[in-house]
Symmetry: C2
Subunit: 895 residues, 2 copies
């Protein structure tokens, strides 16, 4: 931890630079870097994120020495600019903004115009020659400060302002009763009146006068920024976005510049390239005569950059220069906020811009082609969610003819891709519908940070106001989630729970379809399909496969899934579960049930004989689909009670069908009940008790392999024995399996090579890995069960307490749900032990991971570091696994 708390920037020099995001936050680092490379940035200083951390660690007290450092920097700022805070003639005004290492749009509070008081407001009036402007700024400041820093209900300020407008302004301008009075309609006197009333409100609410001392104002604002770090909406955002390890927010104090000083002033947000398509075109929005916050809030619809160029060519030219400098400097697409004050451009922020998945691929490939970055850097630019996003659906061409009839309205396509689902008008309903398994489109006038939960569960987002840089657009883009904004023809009635466009009135729960690429909204549920993958995706994935060294397999139980996974790049099957196959048809489930209720080995074998041809056909299909790629088939794993009927009616039916007494069936089903089935009679324990099940399955696998081999295709079956805890147990079953397999190969006269290995999914197996590896050809880490047992947490039951274990305000044991992203400290340690022990006795041991974690990028990189031979995941996660493994190699080489 450094002992410097405050970093100054201004006059083309800065204490910090662009690499110091962790310490200065993204905004602070960007401001420092822009200052250093000579861009027009108002001067200011950044209080580090470490101060925020210390503040919370120390019961919300600032660290010693902070105050002196802040005061010294104010002094330096005043000297740099030549103005003083609170000065009665020409006061320095500052903005106070938050900024963490990771961008959290709209999450943190901002206070503008700080430094105004009853005296300095007159100084500002004098200096600008615009008393109305000065009082408008003062009004805004008191409201922001009072609500944001001091917690007064914002509506109370709004009510006062509305009241003055609706009485004094309306009367003075003689505005009709039905017409709205605008903020800009107010005059100097009315704003003075508003300020006076605001100060009365402030005193009434807080019991003390609105602070006139600018230093007191500044500390209040700093406290508000730090306070917002632990506000519920900030915590929710970090949770939803899975942001961890960020210690706090920085505070940026910067000289105010004004975009609301008339027609040659304004404020804007722009991107160095198009964040939606990825095209190398300058892209942004500008609001004439406005303060910065107005663009992001999406209250007024801004103009395009081309219109800005037409309206103010010199300012636009300055901006284009900045764009070129920034891309060259950062070698990535930048997202910038700027203000034009009476024709002069000021940069208020720059950061790496969020982009759609499509844009991420395009920019990465373009930048390699432009020589801006290397292939390796390009690979690091792609996120796993970009890959997910690129597979997002579009409206099927078969709907072409319906499109016209279904067309409802057009808005601004903020995030491409399509989504279809039921309308939800608030977060609660969206979450409820999603929990019911419905696809949801969240429809709001505008979104705010409070809506993040509902946005997360929705398939698509539609707002009536806002532009491409509004809250809804920015958040949805980060998720690659279809989003249409600024759809102003939409009349949303939250009370009546309706959404109307002209004559058409839709109710909450009705279906709509969004095309996020065009911005079109359709009535009803249109058919969606997967889009064609862009060229840039193919290019990136080619680079990915060149760089990665570890194999990617898939978890697939059917030939269909197997084929799908191979298309997506799978190089084998890491887990083929055999039990799902038993549910496939009435005949199969009957045979397995007959096997289970059998009370002699003979009857059991008879039932198993019926299952054999089914299983053999299943495996044949899978071997054909995989065409010589290795296929790990796991022998039956779940407890038998999962296969038997549990209602009396079904049990009676079963008894009838297989011709045994109902009581026998019922008794057997009752016998199968277990207190903790997770730790019960399952996995290879079934094979210990009923070795004939293993015999049947191994025979089916090897017969299928022989048949496919004899038909001219390659096969590479790998038999996996689940739930092993000991070498003696493994050797017993492995020997039996090899016995059956060798017999079948001899019978069939086919030259089939096979392997026998085990899942490592019980802690004891990891601890005994050296012994088990003596005769095992491979280990596959079954991290689902291994997590349950290592943590002593049943996944089915953890819902009641696991959230507290991921919540940073509670136990905070895990960075993420340990059933989704591997618990590296605990389960990961067992993996490390098992790998070391396993390889010590069998250097040729093949190692892999299957289960949910095999598709999680953090887990993939972690296990790659442990030296696994492959990861296995569900088919649709295969490209993500390929990317993660390439990123692992690039990151490793960087170290």
């Amino acid at each position: 931890m450094s002992n410097k708390f405050v970093y100054f920037f201004g006059n083309k020099t800065a204490d910090g630079n662009g690499t110091m995001k962790q310490l200065l936050g993204g905004k602070g680092a960007g401001l420092a870097e822009m200052t250093r490379i000579g861009l027009p940035v108002p001067a200011g200083f950044t209080i580090t994120t470490e101060v925020c951390d210390l503040y919370y660690k120390n019961n919300k007290n600032y660290p010693d020495g902070l105050e002196a450092e802040v005061l010294a920097n104010i002094d330096k700022l005043e000297k740099t600019i030549g103005k003083k805070l609170g000065d009665a003639n020409d006061p320095l005004l500052v903005s106070v903004r938050s900024g963490a290492a990771i961008s959290m749009p709209g999450m943190m509070e901002t206070i503008l115009n700080l430094g105004l008081n009853d005296k300095s407001v007159e100084g500002l009036a004098k200096k600008t020659g615009n008393r109305r402007f000065a009082y408008d700024a003062y009004r805004r400041f008191i409201m922001m400060y009072g609500s944001t820093a001091m917690g007064i209900d914002r509506e109370k300020f709004d009510d006062i302002f509305e009241d003055v407008k609706n009485t004094k302004t309306r009367a003075r301008l003689n505005i009709a009763a039905g017409k709205k009075v605008g903020d800009t309609d107010t005059n100097e006197a009315e704003l003075e009146e508003v300020v006076a009333q605001f100060k009365v409100l402030y005193k009434k609410e807080l019991g003390e006068d609105f602070p006139q001392d600018p230093t007191k104002q500044l500390w209040g604002a700093i406290g508000a920024v730090f306070g917002s770090w632990m506000a519920d909406k900030a915590i929710t955002y970090r949770k939803v976005e899975n942001i961890k390890g960020v210690v706090g927010t920085a505070v940026n104090v910067m000289q105010m510049v004004f975009g609301n000083m008339g027609e040659t002033s304004g404020t804007g947000v722009c991107f160095t390239r198009d964040p939606s398509s990825g095209e190398n075109v300058f892209y942004g929005e500008y609001l004439v005569n406005a303060q910065g916050e107005d663009v992001v809030a999406g209250i007024r619809t801004p103009i395009k950059l081309s219109d800005f160029e037409a309206a103010n060519p010199p300012a636009y030219k300055q901006l284009v220069d900045v764009r070129n400098t920034l891309e060259k400097n950062f070698k990535d697409m930048q997202d910038m906020e700027f203000t034009v004050e009476e024709g002069k451009l000021y940069m208020l922020q720059c950061r790496t811009g969020k982009r759609t998945p499509m844009a991420a691929f395009k920019m990465a490939v373009d930048m390699v082609n432009e020589g801006l970055i290397t292939k390796e850097e390009a690979i690091l630019r792609i996120k796993d969610r970009d890959i997910e996003g690129i597979f997002y659906p579009i409206i099927d061409s078969s709907e072409k003819d319906s499109l016209k009839k279904a067309f409802l309205v057009s808005g601004i396509g903020a995030v491409p891709g399509a989504a279809a689902g039921r309308i939800a008008l608030n977060v609660k309903n969206a979450e409820k519908m999603a929990a019911n398994g419905d696809k949801v489109i969240l429809v709001r006038k505008e979104t705010s940070p409070e809506d993040v939960g509902g946005m997360h569960v929705a398939s698509g987002i539609l707002t009536a106001t806002g532009g491409k840089t509004s809250h809804a657009a920015v958040v949805a883009r980060g998720w690659g989630k279809c989003c249409i904004v600024g759809c102003e023809a939409l009349k949303i009635d939250y009370e009546a729970k309706t959404v109307a466009v002209g004559e058409t009135v839709l109710k909450e729960g009705d279906f709509i379809t969004l095309n996020g690429s065009s911005g079109d909204v359709y009535n009803g549920l249109l058919k969606l399909v997967q889009p064609e993958l862009p060229e840039s995706y193919t290019t990136i994935m080619k680079w990915v496969d060149e760089i990665r060294k570890i194999q990617v397999r898939t978890n697939a139980d059917t030939p269909y899934d197997a084929k799908k996974a191979v298309e997506l790049g799978a190089e084998g099957i890491g887990l083929c579960r055999t039990e799902h196959m038993f549910f496939d048809t009435e005949e199969r489930i009957l045979a397995i049930r007959e096997m289970i209720v059998a009370d002699t080995v003979e009857k059991r074998v008879k039932a198993l004989d019926k299952l054999l041809p089914f299983q053999r056909d299943d495996f044949k299909g899978i071997f054909e689909a995989m065409d010589g790629k290795p296929v790990i088939i796991r022998l039956i794993d779940p407890p038998l009670h999962e296969f038997v009927p549990h209602t009396e009616a079904e049990q009676k039916q079963l008894a009838d069908k297989i011709g045994i007494p109902f009581d026998t069936v019922r008794l057997r089903v009752n016998q199968l009940h277990e207190a903790n089935p997770m730790l019960g009679h399952r996995g290879c324990r079934l094979a210990i008790t009923y070795p004939e099940i293993l015999d049947m399955q191994v025979r089916a696998i090897i017969e299928a392999a022989c048949i496919v081999k004899k038909a001219g295709k390659s096969v590479a079956p790998e038999i996996m024995i689940p739930l092993i805890i000991d070498d003696k147990e493994f050797k017993l079953l492995e020997k039996r399996a090899r016995g059956v397999a060798d017999t079948v190969i001899k019978e069939q006269g086919a030259d089939v090579k096979y392997m026998v290995g085990t899942m490592i999914e019980v802690p004891r197996a990891a601890l005994r890995a050296n012994k088990i590896a003596e005769t095992a050809d491979f280990f596959s880490f079954g991290t689902n069960d291994l997590t349950q047992m290592t943590l002593g947490m049943s996944r089915d039951d953890a819902g009641k307490f696991l959230p507290d274990y991921v919540d940073e305000r509670k136990a905070a044991v895990f960075m993420a749900d340990p059933f989704q992203s591997l618990d590296q400290d605990g389960v990961g340690e067992l993996l490390r032990i098992a790998i070391e022990k396993g390889r010590s006795t069998n250097p040729n041991l093949k190692l892999g991971i299957c289960g949910e974690h095999g598709g999680d990028p953090a887990t993939i990189k972690f296990v790659a570091g442990l030296g696994l031979n492959y990861v296995s995941c569900s088919p649709f996660r295969v490209p993500i696994a390929r990317l993660s493994l390439a990123q692992y190699e690039v990151e490793k080489n960087k170290k």
Copy 2:
């Protein structure tokens, strides 16, 4: 593995010696040693236990070279004795006996008189001048060989013999129809007839003639001995006795000597000291004119040694000399088998004798006093079951007056102690009654190896025949289980299921009481009490405590148990469970239920406030009982559903009592249901969700400690947080617990020191022990749950498959039930990891073990080796733990 398969003994020299039990078996080693030290032992040789091991490892084939070695030894034996196997004039006869490293009485088959055939039988007749004797020997041999080695039903031989006796003998001697014809009534011709018929039977059964070649006979006998190693009854015995790691049986081939050659011949079994009382007196039994097997089988009741002395003073004198030599040589009580052949003594076997618990203590102390052994050796002589046995009950003195009335009959008191329970007449019924929770007395005419299972579950054993060295007596003595034998007045009718003594007829299921010390049997259920402990126990335990270095604590939840444990030597409480206390009274269970159904923190706190005074009182009682000794109190651990009522009626009652709707109660109970409660919402997870429970419990503990301290006693409370998986979780709760504790101490103004630690019972906790130890004062290994999770085995569900995991014929993963004796390879490895990690960050960390394993000697020695500070076990296992820890130190120093 040696490459010598056969060890010769004879002529005062031997290839082996008394230390080679593992290789030669107990019998073989004893014979070699006795030969070396000059005792009269018939010559012979021993085929090693390794041959048995190789035989089974090699699909029941003998190792190469065995045959040649056996033949060479036969040759040597013939030369040593000067007789030849199968000789037509003066044949060598041999016995073939089994003998493993650990004595398994009656378990292994024996074949006598081997070498007899149609020619040599005449040679024997000639040499002994007793043709009847020769044919009697031949008859016995064909029967033993045919049944034991060749598997012909023994009854078929018996039928033939009975038939000859009942026709020819009966007619010849004119014996009345109601009277039994004895074996000795037969004459030479009749026995010749029996032999002839036996040979016909043999050929009919096996399709080949009875082998005339003695070498062929010998290989058949050797095969029978090896075959018996894997007979069901042998496996059952090893299972019941928990005998593991013994590779096989040896085969002893030895010259036959004959105890059935008239009145100056005989056979006997004796002990160098009294195996029941431990007194230093010569003790044994002798059967005149009998073969060796007759004594052990308990068919005829033998005479005492004093009568033997009177009957045959010179033979007795030889035996006394042997006794003195043997005790000096082995420095322990020996159990010997001998035969007197026409006045000359031959030793057939010696081994360390089994003894009662009382005798074990007395002999150990006596031998130290006699200078025969050291205190350390004395400690190693005591087994855990000796300690258990010494606490076995006696009939209460309050029953003194009832004794006369209840007296039924007297037998031979074979194993002291008393037992009372229901009569069971066979193994099946004994096991059934025991499973129902009944105390059982197994009553049999005589017992055989097939009865071992029923003997094991019985509280006491009563037989109508046999002496103190009969099967029943020997087996029961090994277990320290009350046993009366030779109770000849007992008429047992297995068909009618009755036991009669004179007029009194008892039915199976009726109660009887045994006094194993006196041999008296009583009608009905008499009151039993704990006996006074003998002086020798106190002496041994004093030595034990001097030698051991590791503390012994107890698991106790009540002041009563705590006091009891202190009496038995406990030095603290290692586990005080708080949850049982909640069930103590109606009031308490109501309060805990009210707490559980509470839907607000306020209501929960209100219910907890009701529980506080109860808990405080509980802890106060325990602190007082422990008087300053450390007391680990575990915070609430089980899932809450264990506390709530599950029937509708009870739920309604609860709803009424606490005044909330029934539906609320039902809903809450249903919510508490878990798929795998073992891995669910329990342990410290409850405190994470409901920290107010922790607050209440810590307050109760520390308030109680303060009150006791202020009343002038010492207190040492140690608060234990269960089910921890991570340091962050532990620190959160530990900090909260210390906060409450410090507040209470301040409030109470008492100077109480306390500790806060955790149970290590989830694999992840072991893996994260270094982090957790940073702020934990102690770890207590909760090996019950740790075993369940490490093995992935629910103790409640393991019944279906765990037996296969302990069965040496199946998976054979564990040497013993891993829930009773710690799985050292798996769970033990986690302990090792946790201890190393824990001490690495906290060298002062106190380490202990609680749970079932804490009372298991093998586990205790294992964890002592890991460096634990204490073990904790149930009160009655405390002396065993003390002994085991002393033995650990002695064994460590020996290495």
